[in-house]
């Protein structure tokens, strides 16, 4: 299928159609934030800017029951207690409409971990396979955007099923995957016509506006060489307050914690987001903590994204350049600066 044109006024009717078959997540303004929520008719859909939170929870919920369990007692011998377990899988067909290319691309970082030869995470995969992305390309970058640094761009379709390019009066929809094509079939579309060219121009302008990306090819090695240079890390982490805003807003951060909660005879095993900026993240049962300070922890976050992860995943940087960690950081810690400083610092020390 070729690119098609969706008039702005037809967006809602398309969403209505989608919502009949799938859980349809769209941006919604809540208080001072824009978050992804199930589409409801009549709602205002803010598409002009990147949402405050990424659609990460659509595939990787903040809190996800992995299984439920139940203690069952032997009526003959109450001292004998058995446990029954039921695994819980989220398999609701879903679609996210209106996220950005960086948001959709974030899941590629997940996939390499949770869907690899070595391990496959069924809970993740079930959701992943049931979730589609109709991504909105960016027409103008924000001051915090740096997708081009990590090998992507404002119209990167990787990880998306449909790419929607905003043009005057509507969107040019480009199918990316077969599933995406199917979704498009249900939309009240017109032929793109000359809009297709407009769309190309939008893409081009956006890419241009991002400017020249610095060369990060040395980051991998250089970050590693700074591993024991705690002065460097203490310096760059000084203003960090060790909260989890950066990681929980990050489309690529995939760490979690597992806890059991019980109520009476029933219980659940929960997988919840965890983050490497927390002191407890590496806290060991013995009381020893290998990452006792925020310097250690920030080193891990930056190092993991730009060095350790690429090291084992064919050079793929575990960052999509969305800039949320910069924008939403209470102290405005700028990961771009840290990476550049790391490259410069180790260059100086060499």
């Amino acid at each position: 299928m070729a690119a098609k044109y969706l008039k702005k006024e037809n967006l809602v009717s398309w969403l209505q159609t989608l919502a009949k078959e799938r859980l349809t997540l769209v941006p919604r303004r809540e208080g001072d934030a824009v978050v992804f929520r199930p589409f409801a008719p009549g709602q205002d859909i803010p598409l002009d800017q990147q949402a405050t939170t990424p659609p990460k929870a659509a595939v990787f919920p903040q809190c996800e029951p992995l299984l439920a369990f139940k203690y069952a007692k032997d009526p003959e011998n109450p001292g004998k207690v058995g446990v029954q377990v039921k695994e819980k899988l989220g398999d609701t067909p879903s679609v996210v409409v209106g996220c950005r290319p960086c948001d959709a691309r974030g899941f590629l970082t997940f996939d390499r971990v949770y869907d690899s030869d070595r391990a496959s995470d069924l809970n993740y995969l079930t959701r992943r396979r049931n979730t589609l992305f109709a991504t909105l390309a960016c027409d103008e970058p924000a001051s915090t955007c740096f997708c081009n640094w990590v090998g992507s761009g404002p119209a990167d379709a990787e990880g998306s099923d449909i790419l929607m390019v905003p043009v005057e009066g509507g969107f040019v929809l480009e199918p990316v995957t077969e599933a995406g094509e199917k979704l498009m079939e249900q939309a009240p579309l017109e032929d793109a016509g000359d809009k297709a060219a407009l769309a190309e121009a939008v893409k081009e302008n956006a890419a241009k506006a991002l400017g020249e990306a610095p060369d990060l090819s040395q980051a991998r090695e250089k970050l590693l060489s700074l591993f024991d240079n705690m002065d460097f890390w203490e310096g760059v982490s000084a203003k960090c307050i060790s909260c989890g805003a950066c990681t929980y807003l990050c489309p690529t951060c995939y760490c979690f914690n597992i806890t059991d909660e019980q109520s009476g005879a029933e219980g659940v095993r929960l997988r919840t987001w965890d983050n490497c900026m927390s002191y407890l993240f590496t806290m060991e049962a013995s009381g020893h903590n290998p990452r006792p300070t925020k310097a250690h922890r920030l080193k891990n976050r930056v190092g993991h994204k730009f060095s350790y992860y690429p090291d084992i995943h064919d050079g793929h940087i575990a960052c999509c350049g969305c800039g949320r960690c910069i924008k939403s950081c209470p102290s405005s810690v700028d990961i771009r600066q840290i990476v550049l400083q790391a490259i410069a610092a180790s260059a100086a020390s060499e």
């Binding site: 809540e30 307050i241 407890l280």
Partner: protein, 317 residues
């Protein structure tokens, strides 16, 4: 001499005897300042001070225990330092306070509302009582009083309450705080209030930026929010749990909160958290005539008692 130059000079004077001095520098865009940790004279040259310096740097103090630390404070920030000293969480000799007079800082949220977003700010400049911003290709002039943080409108302590070095001319003004915002919220029905919190808490990420940005939250790494011993909270992402954490935070700050508003400012999803603390502060003021962070030698009201409480009217149960 300009205030900033005076400040830089004073910091440079004291820098040799200090491990680090905390101030602000320009951040990633023209509207964002960011904390600056000065160790050398070159660092000091990067120092800025303007209504964009919103951060309460006192939040960093307890993390620098054992070091000789200088800190630049606005009036409101100084209250946190006073409170920390009062609770003996800091050693007085280890802290050198560079106090400033302050006429108010901005609320980035308000600017965001005014501009429709902060993503594309190209320049920002203060001109008297106005902020000139150009964003997404358009220029706007915003009067300061429209974009000032709420706390500045009711500020009673414009000048640092505590300073080893005070730079600049003290600001005379002092507003009254009649807790009108709390009163207004209280006037809502319990159902409305509950619905309000339910909706706001729903988007909480449990990132604990509110807690970690708080200068008085000294437990941070050992917070009950994530511990199993004691097991106050589960990790379920229900509204109840998220909301309950805010109750914990507010009650643990009862009689200690200096209303710097960092919790609310830090929240990435914009939950109005200060209201809860202000409600408690209002009651603490009424019950015990006490304002946290104003006197180093006071006793926090919930760590003390009177045999006869003047203002607790026991309801004759």
């Amino acid at each position: 001499m300009e205030l900033l130059d005076q400040l830089k000079e004073k910091i440079k004077e004291r820098l040799p005897e200090l491990d680090v001095v905390i101030g602000w520098e320009q951040g990633f865009d023209p509207l964002h300042a960011t904390p600056l940790f000065m160790r050398t004279e070159e660092d000091v040259d990067r120092l800025v001070f303007s209504p964009l310096c919103v951060h309460n740097l006192a939040s960093h103090l307890t993390g620098l225990k054992g070091k000789k630390v200088g800190i630049v404070v606005k009036g409101c920030d100084s209250r946190s330092v006073v409170e920390l000293l009062q609770e003996k969480l800091l050693v007085r000799e280890d802290v050198t306070v560079f106090g400033l007079p302050c006429t108010g800082v901005v609320s980035l949220k308000k600017i965001k509302h005014a501009l429709g977003g902060l993503d594309k700010v190209a320049s920002a400049e203060f001109n008297g009582n106005e902020l000139k911003v150009s964003a997404a290709g358009a220029a706007r002039v915003l009067p300061l009083n429209e974009i000032a943080a709420d706390k500045c409108g009711r500020c009673q302590y414009h000048n640092a309450l505590l300073s080893d070095v005070f730079v600049g001319a003290p600001v005379e003004a002092a507003a009254e705080d009649n807790y009108a915002d709390v009163e207004a919220f209280q006037a809502k029905s319990p159902q409305e209030q509950a619905a309000y919190w339910r909706d706001a808490m729903q988007r909480c990420l449990r990132c604990y930026a509110c807690r970690n940005a708080c200068p008085m939250c000294v437990c941070r790494d050992h917070c009950v929010a994530q511990s199993r011993e004691p097991h106050w909270m589960t990790q379920q992402d229900t509204v109840q749990e998220k909301w309950f954490f805010q109750m914990i935070h507010a009650l643990h700050l009862a009689g200690r909160c200096t209303e710097c508003g960092e919790c609310e400012r830090a929240c990435p999803v914009g939950i109005p958290l200060l209201l809860l603390k202000r409600k408690i502060n209002k009651e603490i003021k009424e019950l015990f005539d006490y304002q946290a962070g104003t006197k180093i030698d006071a006793t926090p009201p919930l760590l003390s008692f009177k045999v006869e409480e003047e203002n607790i009217n026991e309801r004759g149960w």
